[in-house]
Amino acid sequence: MAAPETSTAAVPTLYTNNTLRNAFGGVLSFFILLLIGVMAFSIRLFSVIKYESVIHEFDPYFNYRVTQFLAKNGIYEFWNWFDDRTWYPLGRVIGGTVYPGLTLTAGTIWWLLNSLNIPLSVETVCVFTAPIFSAFASWATYLLTKEVKGTGAGLTAAALLAMVPSYISRSVAGSYDNEAVAIFALIFTFYLYIKTLNTGSLFYATLNSIAYFYMVCSWGGYTFIINLIPMHVLLCIVTGRFSSRLYIAYAPLVVLGTLLAALVPVVGFNAVMTSEHFASFLVFIIIHVVAFVYYIKGILSPKMFKVAVTLVVSVGLAVCCAVIAVLIALVASSPTKGWSGRSLSLLDPTYASKYIPIIASVSEHQPPTWPSYFMDINVLAFLVPAGIIACFLPLSDASSFVVLYIATSVYFSGVMVRLMLVLAPAACITSGIALSQAFDVFTGSIKFQLTGASSNTEVDAAETSSSTAESQTDAVKTEKPEETAKNRPSRKSKKKEREHGEKPSTEAKAEKKRLLALPLESSVHCVWAAAEAYSAPSIVLTSRSHDGLHVFDDFREAYAWLRHNTDVDDKVASWWDYGYQTTAMANRTVIVDNNTWNNTHIATVGTAMSSPERAAWEIFHSLDVKYVLVVFGGLVGYPSDDINKFLWMVRIGGGVFPHIKEPDYLVSSLC
């Protein structure tokens, strides 16, 4: 009896303080978000502190070079840039073959800073673009998760995303790659889609298309969006969740988004011609049919409606069959069935290794191993199932989207290591939901128990207390299932609650501590991953031995030598891995580079590399090559040198020039 009384007595004061509490909560969550942003930025600075402010790896060097060009020559020159320093003698039209999002972003930042008389170098801007955008990405995650499951889940998900190793691996300072801004664009597009779905506002629908446009500008992974959203729309329609909001969320996106996507030169008419986009158009038709049916249903009586349905279905089926037949014929007429090689290898994981060795030769296109899941998303891997369950309680349009997102991204990450990056935000969102829901449950039970315990000390009516405790736990019980108490841990605690009146509080506290320990432990792992595993720029190698730190700077030594001691127009041949770096760091013309758009050209270099000296000289001479760059790691024990890549040269060369046969280069073990 006593317990509810005191708890209710506390209620009015609480309610009058509510506005204050809300304001305080708003300020608090603003500061939490700010700190999350700071953390997301600063955790990625290990590479700068441990090494230096330098561009990493291979592709970023190309992006850096393009950004330099943009900063120097302006946007119009950039669109028309024909680069004769690469793919000699073919050259490459950079403006038309590059995803310009990242370059334009960094170029704009640089221009903005310089017009404010803050003369930062292009390199500095490029190095710090990725950390800045990962802060943006964590804020976008907050917005998205907030739309799905409220502020608490949003903050948790944002904090998790700020330090998830998988994302860190692609966005440390210096890792100036498309993914750096694309993940932000991806999450933000999803957020705007969910926001439109929740509000039904055309304003957000337009913003959504623009965000989608930015994503198309940034990364080839935009096809993921344009397939996932139609899938979700289809799911909503099938499960009877069609509404005008859904229509507004989807139809403008397809129309505006496709038009905008076609503006990006690298996509162009692919936006309507390749199979990656067909799903969206199909769903676009379906949603109109469904909308039309709903409309007809509204104006006809049920009986008339039935008649109309039978009529339309019989005619419609025939038409559909005809249309589908035409479509299939069109698609089948193209050799790859309208799918690009990378997309096909997503649908059929064995495709690349069978047909396109150049895609298979890239390590980040291999399927991941189990440890890499633990390495890259760590504890989130265990929280994701709980989060998926939480999404079903109750299932809304938004939470069904999250479930679909995680399910598809898990599949894709299983095909290619690189797409682990798409999984990371989904895992963070679901884990954030799981954690925050679990906290809700535990803090809820602690709150009730605390008030109960305090009242027990006040009123010592021995017999009434037991009954009130009983009734109170009942109240807790009745409250729980309404919420989301079906998490495994909370169920356990609930059982305990039934047995003993006092237990739940301590139990919940213990569980809460255990739950807190999870993200804490994982944050230790994340910081370790950021500091040790993912911060190496890969152009500078360090090794620790008994007499201190050794720095191997041989790559840059070679590039610097080429830069200063060869003629400006000399041609340098190397395996394609080093193409971007040679053009960017040595400023010399290369034969092939990491763009790998011309397989024959690469095969020519591969053939030269795997031919005897005289034949190789002939080939290189025909390409005007004056210098050949080969990487030999034997002396210092650097594993990924050209000897290690040699079999791929043979395979790729042999793919075009049949006189190169792989068995000739292998030692027969039988002899």
Binding site: P4, T8, Y15, T16, P119, Y559, W561, R563, H564, M585
Partner: protein
């Protein structure tokens, strides 16, 4: 040998046409030529005697044109005995002159003596001449492991427009082998020193060519271009940035090159390669960095003590003959070490040239970036150089900073002297940039506040605007309902409290009184609730929440009824003096319902509160 023949020719010409110039006689000439690095230093001690009728105040120094082209530095100073402590060396002014009746192919410099040389008097002074590119590699191309041999040509006799009475010459070569040297009368070799002379009573412009061919493996580091930028910040730092374009000016490298060999056998392979450079920075230099266009160069060492900071840098690769590289070093200096004030003006006192030792610089550009708002700028330098002014726009500048640009070609370490830049600067200008930032942020916040408080909707009659306003009204009404319900709940609590008192004290009357008062209160509250409910029911934008609000009100009513019933039963039971257990049993059932209802009401309240 083309050049040497030419030199020979020049000498013969000059020997043939040798008019005795004036009345000065060089009674003693001592020349020491230092060939120990790639910079050739000729230090001569001259004793001048006035044998004529007039007082003479100028002495002419002669250099053949081919040498004069490479002459980087020339200084004359009073002679000092070796043991003496170096007093501040006063150098005499030197000018290029073209006296008449002189043989072609010779360049003259005139030294102004501190005071006129009277008849019969003599005066001794030192002349230091520093030459670049005076050593010619021979052979011109060498392999990676070969040693570098160089050729030096000069005259065994001192070239002078005056008669030289006694003279001697010594050449100092590095401590290694001498391939060959010209043998004249009285030539001696002592270790690494070759001595010619003494020769006596030679006429003016007499010369006798000599050639020394010797090993010189010291690095021939030449900076083709060096841009030094010295940026003054009155917040306490002078930032020096030096951009080098370096070339190895020795014998060209030929044939194959192996990177592994110099790494494995450092002393044997590539003896003439530029492996490292040493820079002597000022003692309190800090924040030193060393990088190039593609990032840090990790091979450098920094040692420091109270007198100097020594920076040893290695280029990315050992530089063989003819190889190039480019890099940047930078460091900061404390402001008080280089900036002083005099007569209302400030002046920067800093070294002119590169801190690298034994580095020849072809073109040096020094840019002194003064803080924004400096005026009345002037430069005081120990030697002639081109100078002009620029502006540079840097961090948060509006009009840009004044930049003094100085340019000079063909420099040797002797040029590394202090120079001064005078300017006027108002201390208040320092606050300009912080104030600008503060005001910028301030106006940003003001703009935010204005934006948040301004009504930016375009039409006051648009549907969405009206809907928004209506929704605001509805929200206010709901808030009021919320408050009222809360107060109702508070009165419920009073009832409960009275019941508790009853169970403790057993005073039925007090309990009844409490009930009456609460009844009154509740009636008032329900009266207040009515207009709000009618408003909500009429408002179109409240449709979504209306059901919840109505439910809340209904539940609250139900709760109230139950509570009243419980209250009545309790009071009745007390009036009948039933046992506590009996009362408990009666109430228990009602109590359960009440708690359930209460829970529902709380949930609803929370829901409504979230709107």
């Amino acid at each position: 040998m083309g050049i040497s023949r030419f030199v020979l020719l020049v000498f013969t010409i000059s020997m043939l046409a040798s008019p005795a110039l004036s009345d000065l006689v060089l009674s003693k000439v001592d020349r020491r030529i230092y060939l120990t690095s790639h910079i050739v230093r000729i230090s001569s001690t001259l004793e001048v005697e006035n044998a004529g009728p007039e007082t003479v105040s100028k002495v002419l120094l002669a250099f053949p044109d081919l040498q004069a082209q490479n002459l980087a530095y020339l200084m004359a100073s009073p002679h000092e005995a070796k043991a003496k402590v170096k007093v501040s060396v006063v150098s005499f002014p030197i000018d290029v002159v073209k006296p008449e009746d002189m043989p072609p192919g010779v360049t003259f410099y005139s030294v102004s003596l501190p005071q006129g040389l009277t008849v019969g008097a003599s005066f001794t002074f030192d002349v230091l001449a520093v030459f670049t590119q005076a050593l010619r590699p021979m052979p011109e191309q060498i392999g990676q492991a070969d040693i570098q041999l160089v050729l030096y040509q000069d005259s065994a006799y001192y070239l002078s427009p005056y008669v030289v009475k006694v003279q001697s010459l010594s050449l100092k070569v590095p401590d290694s082998r001498i391939e060959s040297y010209t043998t004249l009368q009285s030539t001696k070799v002592q270790g690494s020193e070759i001595k010619y002379g003494p020769y006596e009573n030679l006429p003016a412009f007499s010369s006798s060519p000599i050639t020394v061919h010797f090993e010189n493996n010291l690095p021939f580091a030449i900076a083709q271009e060096l841009v030094r930028e010295i940026e003054i910040s009155h917040w306490g730092n002078v930032l020096v940035t030096e951009h080098y374009k370096l070339i190895h000016g020795g014998a060209q490298s030929k044939g194959e090159f192996s990177r592994l060999e110099p790494q494995a056998r450092e002393n044997v392979q590539g003896p003439s390669a530029v492996r490292y450079l040493v820079a002597h920075l000022p003692p309190r230099a800090h924040s030193v960095y060393y990088r190039d266009a593609i990032g840090n160069i990790s091979t450098s060492h920094l040692r420091g003590d109270s007198k100097k900071t020594e920076l040893l840098i290695e280029p990315r690769y050992p530089m063989f003959g003819g190889w190039r590289t480019a890099f940047t070093i930078g460091y900061g200096l404390p402001l008080q070490d280089c900036l002083y004030e005099s007569e209302g003006r400030r002046f920067l006192n800093i070294t002119f040239s590169s801190p690298m030792i034994e580095l020849v610089i072809d073109t040096l550009i020094v840019k002194v970036v003064l803080p924004e708002g400096s005026s009345d700028i002037s430069v005081a330098a120990p030697f002639f150089m081109k100078q002009w002014q620029e502006t540079k726009i840097s961090h948060l500048d509006i009009v840009g900073r004044a930049v003094v640009v100085l340019e000079k070609t063909n420099l040797v370490p002797e040029h590394n002297q202090y120079f001064q830049v005078y300017y006027k600067f108002n201390r208040l200008s320092m606050l300009r940039e912080p104030l600008m930032l503060i005001s910028g942020i301030f106006f940003f916040f003001v703009a935010c506040i204005v934006y948040m408080h301004a009504d930016t909707s375009i039409s006051k009659f648009s549907a969405s605007y009206l809907a928004k306003q209506q929704w605001e009204e509805v929200r206010v009404a709901i808030q009021q309902v919320h408050n009222i319900i809360c107060r109702c709940l508070a009165t419920h609590d009073k009832l409960e409290a009275s019941l508790r008192d009853l169970s403790r004290t057993g005073e039925v009357q007090a309990c009844k009184a409490a009930r009456k008062s609460t009844d009154g209160l509740l009636k008032e509250l329900s009266k207040e609730l009515k207009p709000l409910m009618t408003f909500l029911q009429s408002s179109p934008s409240a449709v979504q929440v209306l059901s919840k609000v109505e439910e809340l009100v209904a539940k609250e009513k139900e709760l109230l009824e139950k509570l009243m019933a419980k209250h009545s039963t309790a009071v009745e039971a007390y009036e009948k003096k039933s046992g506590a257990r009996d009362i408990e049993n009666r109430i228990a059932l009602q109590q359960q319902k009440i708690t359930a209802l209460r829970q529902e009401v709380d949930d609803l309240l929370e829901f409504i509160d979230e709107i």
